[in-house]
Symmetry: C2
Subunit: 368 residues, 2 copies
Amino acid sequence: MENMQQIYFTPGPSQLYPTVRDHILQALEEDIPSLSHRSEKFHTIVKDTYDSLRELLDIPKDYQIFFTASATEAMERIIQNCVEEKSHHFVNGAFSKRFYQIALDLKKSSTQTVASTDHIFDFTPTNPTDAELICLTHNETSVGTSIPTEKLNTDKLLSENRKPRTENRNPLLSLDIVSSVPSVALDYTKLDCVFFSVQKGFGLPAGLGVLIVSPRAMVKAKQLYEQGHNVGSYHKFGTLYEQAQKFQTIETPNVLGIYLFNKVLHDMLETGIATIRKETEEKAALLYDHFDSHPSLTPLIPQNTPSWRSQTVIVIKTPIGSRAIIQHLKTKGFTIGSGYGDQKEHQIRIANFPAHAIKDIKTLLSNF
Amino acid sequence: MENMQQIYFTPGPSQLYPTVRDHILQALEEDIPSLSHRSEKFHTIVKDTYDSLRELLDIPKDYQIFFTASATEAMERIIQNCVEEKSHHFVNGAFSKRFYQIALDLKKSSTQTVASTDHIFDFTPTNPTDAELICLTHNETSVGTSIPTEKLNTDKLLSENRKPRTENRNPLLSLDIVSSVPSVALDYTKLDCVFFSVQKGFGLPAGLGVLIVSPRAMVKAKQLYEQGHNVGSYHKFGTLYEQAQKFQTIETPNVLGIYLFNKVLHDMLETGIATIRKETEEKAALLYDHFDSHPSLTPLIPQNTPSWRSQTVIVIKTPIGSRAIIQHLKTKGFTIGSGYGDQKEHQIRIANFPAHAIKDIKTLLSNF
């Protein structure tokens, strides 16, 4: 049983996108791990990766795309480059809390709004309006909640008395889409720093992050740099920008990771983002329907706040404990996630990424 | 010809260690890319990686081992955590210069000693003694020079009038061993921060760095943190230490990279570090002997300073230009490196890593 072939419904690292194994074999065939990051071939891969990601997610042409080592690194670089004194964080789980902690570590006078016990925010005029950057986590992987996309807009997040967002006025808006990309459709023109890592929705090996930056955030970073603030070193926005223009990075990056990301982007473009998003919704509906009518296992985010339910990470309360359920499913060939942190024994988490086939979701559910 | 199978003598990324292809296939078999970084299995891999690296390089038990994304990241973390005001950098090429630039970017009042035009340092009592950290690059990948290991000792680097290094006195000594590990034998008790990345001497895909930290450097990092200095966030030494105790990292790391590193460490332990080092010397002798007697292609580091010649990256001046030589060798199945930066057209670089077999070096040389 131990060695039974598993399908991974863990919230990340998760199931590999179905084509990744073949792409890895092809990478070995092409000597990609020996490829110089200063070679024309690598620059072509990077340029095509930018283009493909821009097309898949509908990222505006004037937004920059940078590679980082992880989403966590992206958090640090955003604070360093976009905040002189103060960011404001909406905290409803472990990852939004991490971002807030990073701001404090970097000596910013940052503030937080903590979600109500049901992990939901009441975006009212009481929210602080003096922060330079507002940080939201679109999909909190730790608790399975998702902020409705129509709220992802600084003007709606803040006092109605505020003047609307303009080219040169704060606040900037940062959005963590680690576990909702590529399924979430976003209006990037309302956002300034958007970041993710590739081991969740893209179904890739971990070790690569992506940071998307608006022209306004680039202006802010330039101001802070020119004023002499410490905005970091080799991954300050100015350096990332200069290198990205040459389709390079200062450091030797995760070349194999970028190659595989490029390949999966092409696979997804071929499937079509509309299809991927439609299937995500269908699979999420299957999952929530199942547990909404289950006698004991119920979704953490209740049925009466449907727009706050994550489509991509479904968290289920397990009054009988999570361990036996996880063990049972493993014997059936399904690896699911435990609850996050101190909820490890009391919840389970099921990912719904593009790598997860509808038929596998159905078989998984039939085993509960 | 374009598609001829190549052996990579590039200075990194370079030829994969001969076992890596099979380890990647085994990783796919074991679902390593889907493995949670919070799982017992992953923690076992990390613990065994620490143990194996410690054994291979003879790293003292009380030194910490941390993972970073790259050697460049290690430079940033070292400056953040070990320098309040001033580091001093011995600069003899692009990578030692990068480290110095990172210190300046991080707003330190750092200083540099620039090497003579033959890339060699005269370590005399005139070197500054008021820096908190002295930074040396053991093997400058850009110019093919190596600092003789007997000089890697702060007392010898500085004024003879200085009191010797003690438990709580500065300066700390940082050493970049990116392109000399594992071939260089070091006395770690004389060193405080030692770092490398895995795509050179270990013959692995890029995207993973390793940072080795002495107890003295940990004390310094703790002092800076407690005094309220900005020492970074998720990768400050204190957090890296806490996580390493649990065989974890805060971020989702390059799980596949760590797995492969672990496997190659075991392969190298089986071969034996003495054998690897002996073979490195033999291959280096073959390379230097060949070019010392070549009519037009001569080593950049001259024959009269043999102890400053890198054993692992041999840089050769090409008065007729580098391009034709590189193209010719490619048709024979050998990819070598061009000169670094503005020497691209005027030099070639040949790596001599454990992945490079003696017979391949001989065939390569027979094609010059």
